[in-house]
């Protein structure tokens, strides 16, 4: 209140008042004034302490009051904003809608990035965990053999713990019949690598990690829910796995599941005892936790040393950080995606910002009134920013809800083998980040109009009559600048999309070397405890091969292992007769006679096995043209060679077939050698191929029937087609291409809308000028031409900036491109045309409106 003492002195004055009053009392009773004063002071107590205390309390009081005032101001402003938005809700719909779309996309990408790249790996101290493997020449990677693993576990001093596992499938027998379930056969110490994996039960003991150990199994949380209905007495329940009745001893929680997709774990000693003895079976994936401070090269060296002394051990091993192996391939494209979607957000913000700016211009009268009534320009600006925040928050909430709805369909698009895909979800972290992003974007969107609003001079504004006239040149330039930015962003995104699209097209145009149409694939997996010897496996295979031609519409059938685009590579060098050394490693496949017919792989020379695919048949091979001896000679018909897969004697090459893109459409063909399937003893896991024009469902059903007829206890197998396999192999590039195309289209639409809005505003602002021109004789087409030119100029400037930015910007795409260069003229030409067309389209509406004006009306307005 005016007249109050200043804050620093209040307390002093108050206490002084008291002392003087008491002194006066004492003086009135006869005491000497000086003594009275001393008495009063003594009676008071600790004055200094009280002074400090009271001052502190007053300071707190003042702060509380300031805080309350601030909250009240904010609350008032928020109410004002809502009231204003409530009066004309339609005006808010467009900016909120635009921001919502961008927020939804961002939330979806964030959940993918979060799940794949950022969610914690199930290992404890994951940064010290490494993948140990043996890298072959030719690019194959081998794991470790069981005896090596045991040696590493006991002898390696640089490792804290290590374990191996086999990522495989197990046949189970449940109440509803046999089923195949993904799981892992693990060695001792596996669960020690994971961080707190079990939600109940215990892990395997050393005794259980032995060939005669008690049959036990550990299941996943999901499996427990789906198959056992979360039965609380799960520990101790029996489950028949692979013909053995096992006891369930533990349940793994979902976030600790490793390897991805596993539902059951067994000790490898019980699951595949046969593998333990074979020194050459380098099939165990190995993970190890390294002691702190130890380098991975040292680890590789030590492990190599240990294994070198053992039969079948490699003289060196490589250790690679886990995160790199797991995520190495996906980090770049995912970061790309994240960057691209942020560009979409930026474009949306600029677009919405333009809308708000235009609206602010229309509301100038109200703003001017507020300012002249005493609201400071900062109050006006903060009010506008607050409005932006509210819009952003609304977009954030709706966007997150939409993202939740769309998460399912998005996951369907995500490539199946994306690591940690199971962790993708809209978790609280993602939601908060998306909301924060939305709010910040909302505020940024309003920033330009807030700045403009605070600069309005009431006097000038209140003078003006027309809605858009008198908007300063600064405003017009800013609006056009925003259009330029949007066009530039659209250029970047469509250039990226165009490059990816062209890459995708180049990829699918690649000839895989075979005809994938109408080929049905049925995987067969024979349990090793019932098909113990080769004879039984061959008998089964033969039985199947005999019946299969009866499938409806079957033109050719075959059996095979290591098929193209299946992801399995089995490589071996070849010893060629007459050559001093072995060749470099080639892909080895085992197929029956009609394989080449089923897949329509052409014979370039010679013929196939022709009936020799039997035990006593001639030892034959079919090769492709790419097999070269160290001396440089190509292996052809009549040549003799053998692989190192259970083969010591030479086989004669009977035929040469066309090369096949075994590893994928984008990978150049590797040399392949085909061995006779039945002669080599069949296999426990192989595929039945059927070329038939009948519908896939019919073929699949009949094939399954035949398999069941041969062996009723075989679990139902996975059926697919060759074309779907190829399609699946393209899932990753498809995902990124679709995403970026979507972003590009959105950006173009935004740029179009923004350009149109800016031109419309310009036409409105220049009505008088246009009216005068028309009165002076300018023709309608020339008026329209003016607007069109402006639109195209804006677009062209935007394209210029966009191309400049796209050149370094698209460099990150380089690894994703196929058959297309970064500066591909066709792509950029397309982008240019697209955006110019958009600019022309955007100019259409405003151009017509300009031409429709009646000059007389305009001039009358004065």
């Amino acid at each position: 209140m005016p007249g109050d003492p200043e804050p620093g002195r209040e307390v002093d004055l108050e206490l002084e008042f008291h002392l003087q009053m008491r002194t006066k009392e004492l003086v009135a009773s006869g005491m000497d004034p000086a003594r009275a004063r001393r008495q009063a002071e003594a009676e008071f107590g600790d004055i200094e302490n009280t002074r400090q205390y009271c001052r502190a309390e007053r300071r707190r009081l003042r702060r509380n009051r300031q805080w309350k005032n601030l909250l009240r101001t904010v609350r008032d402003e928020v109410i004002l904003v809502f009231r204003r938005m409530g009066r004309r809700p339609a005006a808010s719909v467009a900016p909120v809608a635009i921001l919502t779309v961008a927020v939804t996309l961002n939330a979806l990408v964030l959940s993918v990035v979060r799940g794949v790249l950022l969610s914690p790996l199930p290992f404890s101290d994951a940064e010290r965990v490494a993948v140990v493997e043996e890298v072959q020449e030719g690019g194959g990677v081998l794991g470790a053999a069981y005896p090596i693993l045991s040696e590493w576990r006991t002898q390696a001093r640089l490792l804290e713990s290590s374990a191996g596992f086999l990522d495989t499938e197990f046949p189970l027998m449940t109440r509803s019949g046999p089923m195949m379930v993904e799981g892992a056969a693990v060695t001792a110490g596996f669960f020690d690598l994971l961080s707190d994996p079990l939600s109940r039960g215990r892990t395997f003991t050393e005794a259980e990690h032995s060939v005669g150990g008690t049959p036990v199994v550990i299941i996943s949380d999901g499996f427990w829910q789906r198959v056992f209905g979360e039965d609380p007495d799960i520990i101790g329940t029996r489950l028949e796995v692979d013909g053995r009745v096992c006891e369930i001893i533990g349940v793994v929680q979902e976030r600790s599941v490793f390897p991805d997709g596993s539902q059951i774990w067994l000790p490898v000693e019980q699951a595949s005892p046969g593998l333990l003895e074979v020194p050459g079976a380098k099939i165990f994936s190995t993970r190890a936790r390294v002691r702190p401070g130890v380098g991975l090269d040292q680890v590789g060296e030590e492990l190599g040393r240990i294994s070198a002394g053992i039969v079948g051990g490699a003289p060196s091993a490589g250790a690679v950080p886990l995160s790199e192996r797991l995520l190495g391939n996906v980090q770049t494209p995912l970061r790309l995606l994240q960057g691209a979607v942020l560009l979409v957000l930026l474009a949306a913000a600029v677009n919405a910002g333009g809308l708000l700016l235009a609206r602010g211009i229309r509301r100038r009268a109200e703003t001017a009134l507020r300012i002249s009534l005493g609201a400071g320009s900062s109050r006006v600006a903060s009010s506008l920013l607050l409005e932006g925040l509210v819009l952003g928050a609304a977009a954030g909430v709706i966007g997150v809800v939409l993202a939740r709805v769309l998460l399912g369909p998005t996951l369907a698009l995500v490539p199946v083998d994306l690591p940690r895909a199971a962790q993708i979800s809209l978790d609280p972290w993602v939601v908060c980040l998306a909301l924060a992003l939305a709010c910040v974007t909302g505020v940024a969107t309003a920033a330009v109009s807030a700045f403009a609003g605070s600069r309005t001079s009431p006097a000038t504004l209140l003078r003006d009559s027309t809605p858009a006239a008198g908007s300063s040149p600064w405003l017009a330039r800013t609006m056009e600048g925003m259009v330029v930015v949007q066009v530039a962003l659209a250029v970047i995104l469509t250039a990226g999309a165009g490059l990816l699209l062209r890459s995708f097209v180049s990829t699918i145009q690649e000839d895989p070397g075979f005809d994938a149409g109408n080929v049905v694939l049925v995987n067969v997996s024979l349990p090793d405890y019932r098909y113990v010897d080769q004879a039984s496996r061959v008998a089964f295979a033969r039985g199947l091969l005999e019946r299969a031609p009866e499938i409806q519409g079957a033109q050719a059938v075959a059996l095979g292992r290591n098929l193209p685009i299946s992801g399995s590579t089995m490589m071996s060098p070849l010893r060629v007769e007459g050559s001093s050394d072995v060749t470099s490693a080639v892909q080895v496949a085992a197929v029956t006679e009609d394989y080449f017919q089923v897949l329509r792989i052409p014979f370039l020379e010679g013929t196939g096995f022709q009936g020799e695919d039997r035990e006593n048949g001639e030892r034959l091979l079919v090769v492709d043209p790419g097999i070269v001896t160290p001396e440089g000679a190509t292996l052809g018909v009549g040549g003799r060679a053998h692989s190192f897969f259970n083969d010591q004697d030479y086989r004669t090459v009977r035929g040469v077939v066309g090369a096949v893109r075994h590893r994928g459409l984008r990978v150049n063909p590797v040399p392949i050698v085909y061995e006779p399937f039945l002669q080599k003893g069949g296999a426990l896991g192989f595929t039945l191929l059927i070329r038939s024009e009948a519908p896939v469902g019919v073929v699949a059903a009949q094939a399954r029937e035949m398999i069941q007829a041969l062996d009723p206890a075989l679990p139902v197998e996975e059926v697919s087609t060759m074309s779907s396999r190829i399609s699946a192999s393209l899932a990753e590039p498809r995902f990124y291409t679709v995403a970026l195309t979507l972003f590009g289209v959105l950006a173009v639409l935004l740029a179009l809308a923004g350009c149109q809005a800016s031109l419309a505003h310009r036409v409105e602002a220049r009505r008088r000028e246009i009216g005068i021109r028309m009165a002076l004789g300018a023709t309608l087409p020339s008026v329209r031409g003016m607007v069109l030119t402006r639109g195209l100029v804006l677009t062209a400037v935007g394209i210029g900036f966009g191309v400049l930015a796209a050149i370094p910007g698209t460099r990150v795409l380089e690894a994703q491109l196929y058959g297309v260069s970064l500066g591909d003229p066709l792509t950029y030409g397309g982008v240019l045309l697209l955006l110019l067309a958009a600019g022309a389209l955007a100019s259409d509406g405003p151009a017509r409106r300009a031409a429709r004006q009646d000059p007389a009306e305009v001039l009358k307005e004065g």
């Binding site: 003492p5 008042f17 008291h18 009280t50 009271c54 309390e57 007053r58």
Partner: protein
Amino acid sequence: MTKIASNNLLRGTVDLLVLKTLMHGPKHGFAIARWIREGSDDLVSFEDAALYQSLHRLERQEMVESSWGVSDNNRRARFYRITLKGKERLEKESSAFKTYAEAVNRLLEAES
């Protein structure tokens, strides 16, 4: 009769007495001190320091509010008034205090 010395009185009790005093109308600090002294026949008195600490604390807690005014002898002084919150607190705590005092009294007078 023993005089209850200031360091025996709990902070809360000082606050309570101050609030009660203000129920009888706005006062400045000196007047409050005098009122309490006279109202208890000089049995209850405490250091003025404690009183002023209590007043400022109560104001920060919004139990009382103050403003500068003019005293009887034309001097500038800070006058305190009880607020609605203060009245509620007074009611709540004085009944609690009475219950406590009765209980202690009963125990002290119980037959041994």
